[in-house]
């Protein structure tokens, strides 16, 4: 008869090495292979627009997955991600800027950079320490990787500097302070102190873009990021962070060091944000301050909320959505006749009215014909009619360019998501292979039920108790949730006396 501690060991073993582990690893490897083949096929199509969209998805994926570590796992609303990306981007840019670009900056009269700051080149540095094999054009990729990693480290240091004082704050104040820091980083990048490094408003043109635009490089970084962040999420650190998200006070009472875990999560998130920044400037082929506006963080927030804050799977889905709108949303921003816009707006309102009606029906809210339904429907109908008749009536001639429509679309989408499905598409669930095979992770197996019965009822752990445990497990399997102690005819304590 095994003792309780042995059974706890067995349970721990089971948790640490879940069932079908070998199968899942094989499936994951197969999935990666399939992804590689799909990417290879898509790249082979030769559409540069598609390639750019894929690379952008991977780059923003690195950023959103890292933002998710703070916003989802740690439950802190951070709005300063663009600031950390800026730091990573400028560091990378400065380190791998080509010599010709450096000469051009130095010779142009308007530059704020000087000999010293322009000397901060990775190839010159490597040359200096004798590694001149790494300074050839063929080894540019090694320098790029080093530069991106250095960018990540600098961003992580910035994350620490930001995190240590501000993480003592709670909730929404913290959101404002992170936003403030993001803006301070951006505003001070063009000031006298930092302009020699950032070249002020002119930025650093001529960053090699063969890495950021390459599907393989960007997806490689994305895969590593997802691997590390998901490992972290399921480690003791990740569980402590989730504890902080659910209830800070309870987590602290359970012995979780709040400040340590918050700052750690913040710094790791900033590290990957820096890496995303490095890839992003390579995708853009240059660094300028207006590549790092708050808009970037807003897009990431939309991705997180749409997919499911807290779930890496969901965040990647959301990122795909946002990148799709950004890269393929051009028809929204073209010039159409005013009447056409009116019809589009009217149809949108009618759809909204229909959606409201359906929502109220399914949520069993009465009256189904809420004033909102009437109002939206009537206004939409009028808009469609006026737009339709306008050419005949001779009003509303003229055209209108939908400048900024994509952003409007995304912000309306975010509001709608927040109202109707705040948890996002997948919520906090993660993709797992077991679910595909109909395994239900939330339901314990018979063996687990037996062990749980043992662990929760110490009285059963004595001679003759094994049979009782079987009985308990049987009852529990039939009537889930039935209390264990009610299974005996009389209280167990009575026997001891």
């Amino acid at each position: 008869m095994a003792s309780v501690s042995q059974r706890i060991d067995a349970r721990t073993q089971e948790l640490a090495f879940p069932r079908h582990r070998g199968r899942n690893i094989l499936l994951t490897l197969g999935g990666l292979l399939a992804l590689v083949i799909i990417l290879w096929f898509l790249e082979g199509l030769g559409s540069s627009k598609l390639n750019q969209a894929l690379a952008l998805f991977a780059i923003w994926g690195v950023a959103t997955v890292s933002l998710n570590l703070v916003n989802g796992t740690l439950g802190i609303l951070s709005l300063g991600h663009h600031g950390f990306m800026l730091i990573g981007g400028y560091t990378t840019g400065l380190l791998i800027l080509s010599e010709t670009a450096r000469d051009r900056i130095l010779s142009s009269g308007r530059s704020s950079m000087n000999e010293t700051t322009l000397g901060l080149s990775l190839s010159r540095g490597l040359d200096l320490i004798g590694l001149d094999a790494l300074t050839t054009p063929e080894t540019l990729w090694i320098r790029f990787v080093i530069a991106v990693l250095v960018g990540g480290v600098v961003a992580a240091i910035a994350g620490l500097i930001v995190g240590i004082p501000s993480l003592r704050l709670r909730g929404d104040y913290l959101a404002i302070v992170t936003f403030g820091f993001g803006e301070i980083i951006r505003l001070s990048a063009s000031t006298r102190i930092f302009a020699p490094l950032t070249n002020g408003a002119l930025g650093l043109p001529g960053i090699p873009s063969e890495f950021g635009k390459s599907v393989w490089w960007t997806f490689g970084f994305l895969a590593i990021t997802v691997f590390i962040i998901s490992k972290l999420k399921y480690s003791s650190y990740g569980r402590a962070m989730e504890g902080i998200r659910e209830d800070e006070i309870a987590a602290e009472a359970m012995g979780v060091n709040l400040a340590y875990h918050k700052v750690l999560g913040f710094a790791i998130s900033a590290f990957f944000a820096g890496i995303a920044g490095g890839l992003w400037v390579s995708w853009l082929g240059g660094v300028r301050l207006d590549f790092f506006l708050f808009t970037l963080t807003f897009f990431f927030l939309v991705a997180l909320s749409a997919g499911g804050t807290g779930s890496i799977t969901g965040v990647l889905l959301g990122t795909a959505l946002v990148v799709f709108v950004r890269q393929y949303g051009d028809p929204l921003e073209e010039t159409y006749a005013l009447a056409t816009w009116l019809i589009i707006a009217g149809v949108t309102l009618l759809l909204a009215a229909a959606a409201t009606y359906l929502y109220r029906t399914f949520q069993r809210q009465r009256p189904r014909m809420h004033p909102a339904v009437y109002g939206l429907g009537i206004v939409g109908l009028i808009a469609v009619l006026v737009g339709w008749l306008a050419p005949n009536l001779g009003i509303l001639d003229g055209t209108f360019r939908g400048f900024g429509m994509r952003a409007i679309f995304l912000s309306v989408l975010l509001i709608v998501i927040m109202i109707f499905r705040p948890e996002g598409i997948v919520g906090r669930r993660e993709f797992n292979w077991g679910a595909l095979f109909g395994e239900r992770p939330d339901q314990p197996t018979d063996e687990e039920r037996k062990q749980d019965a043992w662990l929760s009822n110490a009285q059963l752990n004595r001679p003759g108790g094994a049979a009782a445990a079987e009985a308990v497990a049987e009852v529990q399997a039939e009537v889930p949730g039935k209390p264990l102690l009610e299974t005996g005819d009389e209280p167990v304590e009575a026997e001891d006396k």
Binding site: L77, R170, A175, G404, L414
Partner: protein, 378 residues
């Protein structure tokens, strides 16, 4: 506090000694400019602090409401007279806003006085907007009413469905609304910087004690003072103001005592947005131009929020004090540390002062200068 004052006075004496340029006129000008800027921030900060006091939401969209108010004033002033149907459309919203104001005194939107006032306002606004170029004051009042209605609308559409949601959801929604308004402004108003230098009384030149400027120097602080006093009177003297204070203390209990919290919240958004519109219009007049819609609201909005927190969020006098602190730190401090022969000055860092002050205040005294302790309870 004393140390800061001592440093500032010491610097003033020192600067006066090294160069005649830094005389009374120089510091007087800096003082009045700071007062002006502080007043503008105060008008925005009041909206933040009122909304936060009642629904505990950092209304990220408030900076954009400020932007919309500024642009509406500009368009009402420069583009009127309008065709009759456009004027009528504007007037419907103006009249609705006016009815919400009259409601403060009568307690009911269906009261005959309120309805009659709304009808009169509808006729007056339609007449004014369709027949003539309205003057700046009327444009400002109309724009305040329109923006107030926009505030109510934002609350109804985006925030009201989320009253019971987690606070982070509400905050993200507010960010979405702010982003929506930025891009909507870009789409509908203009996408470039717009000069706004009307040739009216308050932009006429004025010289007081060696400081030459225009009448805005007087008008902005005075109008701000009038609006702040009116707001304080409203909050302390009327039934709805009492309901507002009760809701700020404990919305649930207030609701149980018969206060219609939704109406109080709508009123809060109306008043906050009206003040922001006034601030926006005067901001445009003061700087002679309206920045492009996507960026105009961001920095003033976030600095005003910092002001609200510095003063103590939820407190009306706190918002004004905090706004003055930021106005003075941005303007007077840079004047006290100017560019001299051996020192480059701190002007280009002035946009970061508000954030630095915000962080310092949050770390040292999270409840702000006059606020109560708002620490989280279990």
């Amino acid at each position: 506090m004393g140390a800061v004052l001592a440093i500032i006075i010491g610097r003033m004496v020192y600067l006066n000694g090294i160069n005649d340029r830094f005389g009374t006129a120089y510091f007087g000008r800096a003082f009045i400019e700071s007062l002006k800027l502080g007043s503008l921030y105060a008008l925005i900060a009041l909206g933040y602090t009122m909304v936060y006091g009642i629904i505990r939401l950092i209304n990220f969209a408030h900076g954009e409401v400020f932007m919309v108010g500024a642009f509406l004033t500009y368009f009402l002033f420069t583009l009127s007279p309008y065709p009759w149907y456009v004027a009528l459309l504007y007037s419907v919203f103006i009249a609705y806003g006016f009815m919400r104001i009259l409601e403060f005194f009568r307690g009911n939107l269906r009261d005959p006085v309120v309805l009659g006032g709304g009808a009169l306002m509808l006729m007056f606004a339609t007449f004014m907007l369709s027949t003539q170029t309205v003057n700046l004051i009327i444009a400002l009042v109309f724009s305040m009413l329109l923006t107030g209605v926009l505030g109510i609308l934002i609350d109804r559409v985006a925030y009201a469905p989320l009253r019971t949601a987690p606070r982070n959801s509400l905050l993200i929604t507010a960010i979405a609304v702010s982003f929506f308004l930025q891009n909507f402004g870009l789409l509908v108003f203009t996408n470039r910087q717009t000069p706004f230098r009307p040739d009216t009384l308050i932009t006429n030149p004025l010289t007081i004690g060696g400081i030459s400027s225009n009448w805005l120097l007087v008008a902005i602080p005075v109008i701000t003072a009038i609006l702040v006093v009116a707001l304080t009177m409203f909050v302390t003297r009327t039934r709805l103001g009492k309901a507002m204070r009760a809701s700020a203390q404990d919305a649930e209990t207030a609701q149980m005592m018969g206060v219609s919290v939704n109406r109080v919240i709508a009123t809060t958004f109306l008043l906050g947005s009206m003040l922001a519109a006034a601030g926006g219009a005067m901001w445009g007049l003061n700087f002679g131009s309206l920045n492009q819609p996507a960026v105009m609201g961001i920095l003033p909005g976030i600095k005003a929020f910092a002001a609200a927190v510095i003063g103590g969020i939820g407190s009306l006098p706190g918002a004004v004090i905090g706004a003055m602190v930021i106005g003075f730190s941005e303007n007077f401090l840079t004047a006290v540390f100017p560019r001299t022969n051996n020192f480059l000055g701190i002007t280009e860092f002035k946009d970061t002062f508000a954030f630095i002050l915000l962080i310092i205040v949050l770390l040292i005294r999270p409840s702000g200068i006059v606020g109560e302790d708002l620490s989280e309870k279990v």
